[in-house]
């Protein structure tokens, strides 16, 4: 173990900076080395607060390690590596550098021991994720990036208000469980939930993430929402309200993904869906539930990135992203198809994939707590995941009709990144001990029982049957679905338009009134006081004396009478 704890996030930041200044030939080396070095540094950190500096009288704990923090940071570093590999020779260096800075923010949040460090890395993520979206390079990406940035800057301000309240009222800036019994902690919760894409602020995710480049989108799936899950685990474990927020997210993701035509937007909605499972688990709050949330976050980062890579590979090779334009790609993109299917099975929690061993812990936690409704809803949602992501994504992209497209599999580095994560999904699923040994609490759970296998197979296979039976009702249409972002993309601009029109009309009215009566009055007053006007003329001293005499006489007369 190292005595000096160097913040692992700084390695990635350094990597991002070096990528910018390095010779083009050196860049791939840096891209691959920076996340691996970060991963190594993460595993050198012993538990506890490792680095404290004073700042404005506050103890800033740049590095505080614990099993759950290390688990998330590990996932982020692995993710950065695979994302870097995926775009190794295709992504622009600016984009890779921004993506690494974004990943560094996530690693920084993971180890933040105090709320100030936490907030700084949190905003660091908001900043560089916006740059990653802008690297999509299209006009739609520019617009979506601006909306994304506004949403996250507002979220950041809300979080800051909450943090300041906690600092002032408790005197402590420790990252530790907070109780939802006052304004400050509620505001912190709201600030964190905005990054988790919780209702009613869920729309930013499906709005912005699919606009990134094929490479940027892979990074975008991983960091923001999962650091929010970690923040919830650290700050609000067992907050009951999270159960219902999580359940809403789960079904929101399914319903919107079912309506969606853009393949990457389907995957974006399913991020909200999966994060919903984790948020719900944090709300349940038992050791089993927190283990489940952490394990599911880890598994999710890998399989969702895998899914987004397969979608990115299709986009990169065909330039198309709508289900209506795609189909039949399995014939010419076998590796991408296979990796996409592995990711789809993993997100559906199919036995022998990573999702199976992580998501089932969350359901188990609900059952252990005798939360009947929560359990039934989570089970229905598990079937729904297979429906909207597990089958829908691979079916409409790789099978379905023959679109006539015959793109080849993508270049070797993109294939390698996909295969790496596909193998990881299956390895974690087949050897759950790999992941369970990293969880925050001791695991007393056996996912592979006959009972569990049978019930999960039944659930998923019959969900699959429902998909094919209902297929006529699910044909893709060239549409988008309205969400609450309608309020700020349509309603507010319209209101602003109306206000502008009313303002203009009001100004015109004032102007005509002014022309009719105001201006003549002012002109008359001006004439009186301008040189030669009645009030500006110099009068002869004789008449002045005369008038003073008159006034004096009047005053004397009045005084006499009084």
């Amino acid at each position: 173990m190292l005595e000096l704890a160097f913040p692992p996030a700084f390695i990635l930041i350094l990597g991002a900076l070096l990528i910018a200044v390095a010779r083009p030939g050196m860049r791939p080396v840096l891209v691959l080395a920076a996340p691996l070095l970060t991963l190594w540094a993460i595993w050198q950190l012993p538990d506890g607060v490792l680095m404290t500096v004073g700042f404005l009288g506050y103890p800033i704990e740049l590095v505080e390690a614990s099993p759950v923090r290390r688990l998330f940071a590990t996932a982020f570093a692995i993710m950065a590596f695979a994302g870097g590999l995926f775009g190794l020779r295709q992504a622009k260096w600016q984009e890779t550098a921004a993506s690494y800075a974004y990943a560094a923010g996530a690693v920084g949040v993971s180890f933040a021991g105090d709320l100030i460090t936490f907030f700084l890395f949190w905003e660091f993520m908001a900043l560089f994720s916006t740059v990653v979206i802008w690297c999509g390079g299209t006009d739609a990406a520019r617009r979506a990036g601006v909306r994304y940035a506004l949403m996250h800057l507002v979220g950041g301000v809300i979080l800051k208000i909450g943090i300041e309240g906690v600092m002032i009222h408790t005197g402590s800036i420790d990252v530790r469980p907070l109780v939802l019994d006052n304004f400050d902690t509620w505001v912190v919760l709201i600030g964190v939930l905005i990054n988790a894409a919780a209702p009613p602020i869920s729309a930013w995710l499906a709005d912005a993430y699919p606009e990134g480049s094929p490479f940027g989108s892979v990074f975008l799936t991983a960091f923001t929402t999962k650091t929010a899950v970690l923040a919830l685990i650290l700050l609000f474990p067992g907050a009951q309200v999270l159960i219902w927020i999580g359940l809403y997210m789960v079904f929101y993701g399914i319903i919107y993904a079912l309506l969606e035509n853009d393949m990457r937007r389907i995957l974006a909605y399913s991020i909200v869906n999966q994060v919903g499972f984790m948020v719900c688990a944090v709300g349940i709050g038992t050791q089993m539930a927190i283990n489940g949330a952490a394990a599911h976050a880890f598994a999710h980062i890998i399989y969702k990135a895998l899914l987004m890579m397969s979608a990115g590979a299709v986009l990169y090779q065909t330039g198309k992203r709508k289900c209506t334009d795609l189909g039949g790609l399995y014939q010419s993109m076998p590796i991408t198809t296979l990796c996409g299917i592995v990711g789809a099975l993993a997100i559906s929690a199919f036995p022998f994939t990573s999702g199976f061993i992580s998501k089932s812990m969350i359901s188990q936690a609900a059952a252990d707590q005798q939360m009947v409704w929560v359990w039934y809803l989570l089970t229905a949602a598990s079937a729904g995941v297979f429906l909207h992501a597990g089958i829908k994504f691979p079916w409409f992209v790789f099978f379905q009709k023959d679109s006539g497209l015959r793109p080849a599999d993508p270049p070797w580095n993109m294939r390698a990144a996909m295969i790496l994560f596909a193998v990881a999904c299956i390895a974690i699923g087949c050897f759950p001990g790999l992941l369970y040994s990293l969880l925050p609490y001791p695991v007393d759970y056996q996912p592979y029982t006959g009972e569990h296998l049978v019930s999960q197979f039944q659930l998923l296979l019959f969900a699959g049957l429902a998909f094919f039976v209902m297929l006529p009702a699910m044909q893709r249409t060239l549409t988008i679905s309205l969400d609450l972002d309608w309020t700020y993309r349509m309603l507010l601009p319209r209101l602003a338009g109306w206000v502008e029109r009313i303002w203009v009309a009001l100004m015109e009215l004032i102007d005509t009134r002014w022309q009719r009566s105001g201006r003549p009055l002012v002109e008359r007053l001006t004439r009186w006081s301008e040189p030669g006007g009645a009030l500006a003329r110099t009068s002869p001293i004789g008449s002045m004396a005369l008038w003073v005499t008159v006034i004096l006489v009047l005053v004397v007369a009045l005084a006499q009478r009084g």
Partner: protein, 100 residues
């Protein structure tokens, strides 16, 4: 399973697109579905609550909840679906107004 339409100029029908094979896949799928339900007789299931212990509960629940979700999404689609250029058309219209 809906059979993909074969383009007229394609040299050979891919294995997965031949109607006979699609029929075979359906039979295989049906067999797997049946097996997954029958397997319940072989393992000891204990229910957490009430309905979840019924024979074939997960099969029925998985199927019905998915049908329900598809129908719900379809119904919601009537209110929420808009043309793809809904926002971009509005933005362009505004830009035109601003230019004018």
């Amino acid at each position: 399973m809906s059979a993909p339409d074969q383009p007229a100029n394609a040299p050979a029908t891919p294995w997965l697109s031949r109607p006979a094979n699609i029929r075979r896949l359906w039979w295989a799928f049906a067999a797997i579905l049946l097996a997954s339900v029958l397997a319940q007789a072989l393992v000891h299931m204990h229910a957490y609550f009430d309905f979840d212990g019924w024979f074939g509960f997960n099969a029925a629940f998985g199927f019905l909840s998915c049908v329900g979700m598809v129908l719900f999404a379809k119904a919601l689609g009537f209110f929420l679906k808009r043309r793809e250029d809904y926002y971009s058309a509005a933005a362009e219209a505004k830009e035109r107004r601003d230019d004018a």
